[in-house]
Symmetry: none
Subunit: 224 residues, 2 copies
């Protein structure tokens, strides 16, 4: 994994490579860290997703647009994206964070993801940042369609199983990592009667359960 | 006051005049109201101001940028702008709202202001919306700078009270909700000598205190 591969994946080659360097730098590594870019990236991400949702859902009321966006623009989705892009391998971390596996921590990875959007915005403007954000986000947006609007995956899964008169899933915490303020939870969703077992990770037990439930729901969906 | 004057003031002539019509339409007037545009306008406003602050304050940490922006992008500033532009005279309101002087209500005017930014964004893209937002906001940004930069509301409040030789406020946690990783704190700011008691909520005790301090500071400001 190197920076060229990353640029290739996000579809943007930096004119100012120091911006990419900065986006990948955690505050524990250098004073030239990515927090200002993260501030910017958060706002461009919100704006791009707002514009896109406005366009593809011409009839959706403001409250639903807002809910849909906050289901998309959150730490969990950013964390998943960062993992897909293997950002952790490129992250510049101070020694302490490196030793405590900071490169796997959801909050650090999510923040870096935002910083990356901010860096593209500064490097090449709104349209370029929009392109990068949508390239990564559209698959998530497509999933979070009208059906799931306002309904979480634990609820969807439960409704499906009840419809089939099957027992409800069990959610078991199978691992926790990290310190109290920055824990990573790993949860297994167990649906015995379907012999379906999926895992989810997240910065809270609840989020990890949702991710595991989503994985189960998607699996069922793809098989039906 | 008419729409041409408004366009002249904001520096944007609409290609799609129905967008301006919509931005000026309150939900009490028609189903074709401005709430979706407001959703969009809020995000473009945040993004433009973030980019501008990032550019003019190259050394300001993320926390200060964020604080500075939230002091700018709030209902109060939007309300002032709306009054300057005499938006109330162009607002399309249902009869009930018209009779209860809705055209003067801060929330309605602030929302319409945001909808106007959203309408420009859809009409002509990011650069056009950026131009309109900055044309209106730069004078405020110049002001907000010296006043609030680097000083949070707890500090501002404390300085005010010390200046009046009053006792410092007490901050009391009056409620906490949620699990350990996702708590919501409710804090009361108590200024006994002024018989002033305000509340704030936040995901940390510190944030909740700041929100409560801000509420107290604003109340004092509005009364003086």
């Amino acid at each position: 994994m190197n920076r060229d591969v990353l640029c290739n994946q996000i579809g943007h080659v930096f004119t100012q490579s120091q911006l990419l360097q900065r986006a990948l730098t955690h505050r524990s590594y250098s004073a030239e860290h990515n927090e200002r870019l993260e501030f910017l990236g958060d706002s461009i991400l919100n704006c791009v997703v707002a514009k896109y949702l406005y366009g593809i859902y011409p009839d959706l009321p403001e409250g639903d647009l807002s809910r849909l966006r906050s289901n998309l623009v959150n730490q969990q989705t950013l964390f998943i994206l960062a993992q897909q892009l293997r950002l952790g391998e490129l992250l510049l971390l101070g020694e302490g964070e490196r030793k405590s596996a900071g490169f796997r921590r959801p909050s650090i990875l999510a923040d870096t993801m935002e910083a990356l959007f901010g860096a593209v915005f500064i490097d090449a403007g709104f349209a370029a940042a929009e392109q990068v954000v949508l390239r990564l986000y559209v698959p998530f947006i497509a999933q979070a369609d009208a059906q799931t609007l306002g309904k979480d995956f634990k609820t969807l899964l439960q409704e499906y199983l009840q419809g089939k008169r099957l027992a409800l899933p069990k959610y078991i915490v199978i691992a926790t990592q990290g310190e109290a303020h920055a824990q990573l939870f790993k949860v297994e969703c167990q649906i015995e009667q379907l012999k379906l077992f999926t895992c989810g990770e997240g910065s809270s037990r609840r989020t990890a359960e949702q991710v595991a439930a989503e994985a189960a729901y998607r699996k069922i969906e793809s098989q039906s």
